[in-house]
């Protein structure tokens, strides 16, 4: 992989370390992973911050994401254009939020975004249906899907608007301590 100084300058690495939950070494490893996704596209030299984005299809093929039912949503939520094209910085962002060190609030914010398929800032029934279908390989009958979604909304909806706002979601998350450890992808 060569000398690490040729990939990032010290200042860049400091910035990465200050702004994400990764150490210098992990940043370099992330770069290596990013580079290996598309060796001909991603330059080894990042000192002048090249403008390079990888499409969703490539990123989703990482072994860490490959089997994840929400892989497309994860990548889309972290891409600036909403289409799933990730620059290296966004790539780092993604794994920073999914890392062990990220606090619960931050994870919750992005988890909410991932589940919010239609980006309307609410988890409505449609969102939940999509989630459920991804989780169960679409093997539940429509009635069951309906029932489960209704039950979910009924349980988690505090303000009675029949959809889950972020505060509903966060409230639920605080009662599900496992979330902190399960919403985690080790790179």
């Amino acid at each position: 992989m060569g000398n690490k100084q040729t990939i990032f300058t010290d200042e860049q690495l400091d910035a990465y370390q200050d702004c994400t939950f990764f150490t210098r070494k992990e940043i370099l490893r992330l770069h290596a992973r990013y580079h290996e996704l598309a060796p001909h596209l991603v330059p080894m030299d990042y000192t002048n911050e090249p403008d390079c984005k990888l499409p969703l299809a490539l990123i989703v093929n990482m072994p860490e994401l490959k089997e994840n039912p929400f892989r497309n949503r994860i990548v889309e939520s972290f891409s600036e254009d909403g289409m799933g094209n990730l620059s290296f910085n966004e790539f780092v962002d993604m794994f920073s939020v999914l890392s062990e060190m990220a606090p619960r609030e931050l994870k919750a914010i992005y988890a909410f975004k991932i589940y919010d398929y239609n980006v309307d800032n609410y988890l409505c029934k449609e969102d939940l249906k999509k989630t459920l279908n991804k989780l169960t390989k679409e093997e539940l009958t429509p009635e069951e899907v309906d029932l489960v979604c209704d039950k979910t909304i009924e349980e988690a909806d505090l303000d009675g608007d029949n959809k889950l706002s972020y505060s509903d979601f966060e409230n639920m998350i605080t009662r599900a301590p496992d979330f902190l450890s399960t919403f985690h992808i080790r790179i």
Binding site: I109, Y110, C124, L135, Y166, D178
Partner: protein, 965 residues
């Protein structure tokens, strides 16, 4: 003029009935400064005039001038405030617009349609009062998805200003923080890296500019030093990660078996680290000095290494530093004098204190993180949104997980009906079964304890206190540990069997019942053994601590062997049977509860043994190290992930508490009892010749009395450590503090209840307002249709309005509609007296009316200037309608907000008047134009229709007014 008025009603202050209640904190301030308040004054001013004219039907243009003037002035003033207005409104508006569009029609193509949220998190999250900057930035970010080009031109500058403001605020908040806090705060900002970097550089620049003003040299230096330390810190973190044991293995296990199984391995690793720490402490403070001064153990001549020692720990090992007996009570003279008595005592004491500390910290931490106030969120919601394990990367595991989840969901759907069907007799039967099995389990545990007791007595009668045992004698000592370990292996199997017959309502209860029974079993066995050691062994043997140490060594070794056997029989054979002989059994699950309990038991042995055999942690390290790989192999070869993805985190908490409370506290009390009350053996060990271990401190104090300057130590010893009053006071204080915290937590509980109620109430308010809105919209729509028909009839020129064609009257419609809305509101208010919603709607309707009117007016001006261009006119109108409609949409959006700042009960009346005036004026102008302009054919009908409408509207308004008052 046109652009001017654009500015006027795009001033978002008019749409300011914010939707996002959390955001309100920020918008409130701006609301007050926004034109609303002043506008009202202007409206009222004109109101008087209109009312004055109301009676007569004379149409005076001059009457209209003044509201216009006032209005425009307001615009001008309003524009000064625009940036402020934008702050609050932009973020709120756009998401709502998106919401309406998406959820109804565009839900599939939103990715193309929506240029929206790159990094920005949902704007409804904005503002957590605890982390204010987060709220700030998030709100700022949610401004970007501004989809509407009509706004873009106007708001560009404002957005820029706004962004800078927000950023500045954020930077200002970050600057005074310490470096560490600042980094943490930046790391936790929910933004993209680019933005974080920007903020960071700004903060740094700000800081350095601040500092450069102050004295330079020192701050420069300190800056460099802090940077150096930070880099050092990162380097340490980095190396820690590199040194971290089993990173890859952990990832693999997590990927294949998920978090719950991983938690077992994490626990194992934690215990391993803990033992390494214990070993280092004991080895460096107790063993190394002895080894340095007496490298070879003083074994009797006839004792040689025979091999069986590895199992029994007796024989040759008896005289080594492995056990208590291998240490001497001498003061070692070297570079410094090293008092073995003191070092032995204090090492053990400090080690135990550290254990308490570590365990309390981790237990409370775990409790804090994982404690859930109630388990009510147990099923649907949790299963759907929180249960997916993002860690799992194995394809088979993913498939299985999906299957499990599906089954669980189906079960939970059917369980709902099941739980209600339980009759009293069934419940009684269940209760009877519980009782029976509990009695049976406790009886079994007690029986095990009793049999161990008799076995120990039997063994004690057979052995002699000789220097060396024969091989057969040595082998006989293995009977007790063998039986104990066998019981620990077999009895839990019975317990699992019992568990199958019982009907527990939840998986968790089932697991806890099983764990509890196992804990009873192990505690009873350990209790009997300890009783035997303390009361029988301590009186019989000349070097009884070493004998106890040996027993513990044997227990540890046998426990390890049975762990290996357990995973062979429990997992490997079970797998073979499950896959070949009895396929119905299937592949075994990895039983986390049982395995964790085994670890806890193993650790307890090591704690009890720490006094008798200080190097027991070394054995423990080896044991855990091998166990890790064994379990990993056994897991990947034989097991499948647990069917039930229970709440691993809560189980983890339960286990740490279990580790702390019965097991560690038990072993601590045993060690304490030994040190305080039992007489150390007279023949061997560091404490020979003392009444009890603790008196070593008294001896030390006597020595200290001779040294001048150590008075305070003696004073502390006399007055604090030996005085009952001190402990009494400490106890009282702790009780008081506990009581206080308990009270505080009770208060918090109440507060939580109240806040929850408040959320529910807010929700009800919201739905109530929504209902109101929908009710409003319904009559509006029907009215619109009705009116259209009316107009068409009047104008005798059926026209397709929806085509957006030359409908000048459309703008009028808007005004009319708005007015009507107002009227209805007013009516409702006067009849059923619900002030809040009507207030909002009236003022928002007011806004709508204003916009419609102004738009129409602007168009008209435009039209009079270029009166011969009919096309531009029509397109202009199309635009007007469009914009008005949009604003109408926004109005509804705005509705969801709380009704602050909108209490203008009187304005609705006046606005009706205004509407009338406007309509009339417009009609008049139409009229005028009708005679003058270039396309009379086209203009005539719409002009007359406008006139008619104006008349109608006015009349209606009058009626309304009369009704209302």
């Amino acid at each position: 003029m046109t652009s001017y008025s654009h500015g006027g009603f795009h001033n978002p202050a008019y749409h300011d009935s914010e939707t996002l209640e959390i955001d309100r904190r920020y918008s409130r301030k701006t609301d007050h400064t926004n034109p609303y308040a002043r506008e009202e004054v202007a409206w009222r001013g004109s109101n008087n005039r209109t009312v004055a004219e109301h009676g007569s039907m004379i149409q005076t243009v001059s009457g209209n001038d003044s509201p216009y003037g006032g209005w425009q002035e307001e615009n001008r003033r309003g524009r000064e405030n625009i940036p402020m207005g934008l702050i609050s409104t932009q973020p709120g508006r756009t998401p709502w617009q998106n919401d309406l569009n998406r959820s109804t029609s565009y839900s599939n193509i939103d990715s193309q349609y929506n240029p929206s949220p790159p990094g920005p998190p949902p704007s409804s999250i904005t503002g957590k009062s605890t982390i204010r900057w987060r709220g700030n930035t998030m709100r700022r970010m949610s401004m970007f998805p501004n989809t509407d080009p009509a706004y873009a031109a106007f708001t560009e500058n404002a957005i820029k200003n706004e962004m800078e403001n927000e950023e500045q605020n954020l930077v200002k908040e970050l600057v005074p923080l310490s470096t560490r806090e600042r980094i943490q705060a930046i790391q936790e900002l929910p933004m993209s890296f680019e933005e974080k970097k920007h903020i960071r550089s700004q903060v740094l620049a700000f800081k350095s500019s601040n500092q450069s003003r102050q004295c330079t040299c020192f701050t420069d230096c300190s800056e460099n030093v802090s940077l150096f330390f930070r880099r050092c810190g990162y380097a340490i973190r980095s190396t820690k990660q590199t040194l971290g044991l089993w990173q890859g293995t952990m990832k693999e296990i997590g990927g294949k078996f998920g978090t719950s199984v991983l938690s077992y391995f994490l626990f194992l690793k934690w215990l391993l680290m803990f033992n390494i720490f214990s070993f280092l402490v004991n080895f460096s403070f107790i063993t190394i000095p002895v080894l340095v001064f007496e490298p070879s153990p003083n074994t009797p001549a006839n004792v040689t290494f025979r091999g069986l020692e590895l199992l029994t720990g007796a024989g040759y090992f008896r005289y080594t530093v492995m056990y208590y007996g291998g240490y001497s009570n001498e003061t070692l003279h070297g570079l410094v004098d090293y008092d073995m008595q003191l070092s032995y005592f204090f090492t053990i004491a400090v080690y135990m204190a550290l254990c308490v500390f570590v365990l309390v910290i981790s237990a409370t931490n775990s409790f804090k993180n994982n404690y859930t106030p109630e388990a009510s969120a147990s099923n649907g919601a949790w299963q759907l949104l929180c249960s997916w394990d993002f860690r799992v990367t194995n394809e088979r595991a993913v498939r299985q997980r999906k299957n499990n989840l599906r089954v669980q969901l189906k079960e939970s759907l059917s369980e709902n009906s099941y739980s209600e069907q339980l009759t009293l007799s069934v419940r009684l039967k269940h209760f009877g079964i519980y009782l029976g099995f509990w009695l049976l389990s406790i009886g079994l545990a007690a029986g095990c304890g009793a049999s161990i007791f008799f076995l120990c007595r039997y063994e004690e009668q057979r052995t002699t206190d000789s220097v060396s045992w024969t091989l057969a004698q040595e082998a006989e000592t293995l009977v007790v540990p063998f039986v104990v370990s066998l019981m620990n292996l077999v009895v839990p199997l019975f317990y699992s069997l019992f568990n199958k017959f019982e009907h527990y309502s939840s998986q968790r209860r089932k697991v806890y019942a099983l764990v509890l029974r196992n804990v009873f079993l192990r505690l009873s066995i350990l209790g009997v053994l300890c009783y035997h050691w303390m009361n029988v062994v301590s009186k019989k043997y000349s070097c009884w601590e070493t004998i106890v140490g040996q027993s513990l060594y044997r227990l540890v070794i046998f426990d390890f062997m049975f762990l290996l056997l357990g995973s062979f029989f429990g997992e490997f054979l079970r797998n073979v049977i499950g896959t070949t002989l009895l396929p119905s059994l299937g592949v075994p699950d990895f039983d986390i509860a049982r395995n964790v309990l085994e670890l806890i038991y193993a650790q307890t042995l090591s704690w009890v043994g720490i006094y008798f055999s200080p190097l027991l942690p070394a054995i423990q390290i080896l044991k855990f190290f091998i166990l890790f790989y064994l379990k990993k192999v056994s897991l990947t070869r034989n097991c499948q992930p647990p069917q039930r993805t229970g709440r691993a985190a809560q189980m983890q908490t339960a286990f740490i508490c279990l580790l702390f409370f019965p097991f560690f506290v038990g072993s601590l009390s045993i060690v304490g009892y030994t040190a305080w009350s039992l007489t150390p053996s007279t023949q061997c060990g560091p404490f020979k010749g003392l009444n009890n271990t603790f008196s070593v401190v008294a001896v030390w104090m006597e020595e200290l009395e001779e040294i001048p300057g150590a008075d305070w130590v003696i004073w502390i010893y006399q007055r604090v450590i030996r005085s009952e009053v001190f402990y009494f006071l400490i106890t009282i204080i702790i009780i008081i503090i506990t009581y206080m915290f308990w009270q505080i937590s009770q208060g918090r509980k109440e507060l939580i209840g109240i806040l929850k109620q408040q959320i529910v109430n807010e929700g009800k308010d919201k739905s109530f307002l929504l209902d109101k809105l929908q009710n409003l919209q319904k009559p509006n729509r029907s009215n619109k249709r009705h009116k259209q028909m009316n107009t068409e009839k009047h104008s005798k020129r059926p026209e397709d309005h929806s085509s957006g064609g030359p409908s000048k009257s459309n703008a009028m419609f808007q005004a009319l509609l708005a007015r009507q809305q107002l009227e209805e509101e007013e009516e409702r208010r006067s009849t059923d007296g619900v002030p809040v919603p009507s207030d909002i709607s009236s003022s928002s309707a007011l806004t709508l009316a204003m916009m419609a009117r102004q738009r129409a007016e602007g168009q008209e001006e435009h039209f009079t200037r270029v009166s011969d261009q009919h096309f531009s006119q029509s397109s202009g109108f199309a635009h007007v309608t469009q914009v008005t409609q949009r604003s109408g949409g926004q109005l509804t959006d705005g509705y969801y907000g709380a009704p602050e700042d909108l209490d203008h009960p009187t304005s609705s009346v006046s606005s009706i008047m205004m509407q009338v005036m406007q309509a009339r004026q417009r009609a008049e102008e139409e009229d005028r134009r009708q005679w003058a302009p270039a396309h009379p054919q086209n203009q005539a009908p719409s002009g007359s229709s406008a006139l008619i409408q104006a008349m109608l509207a006015r009349q209606q308004a009058q009626n309304e007014f009369d009704d209302g008052y």
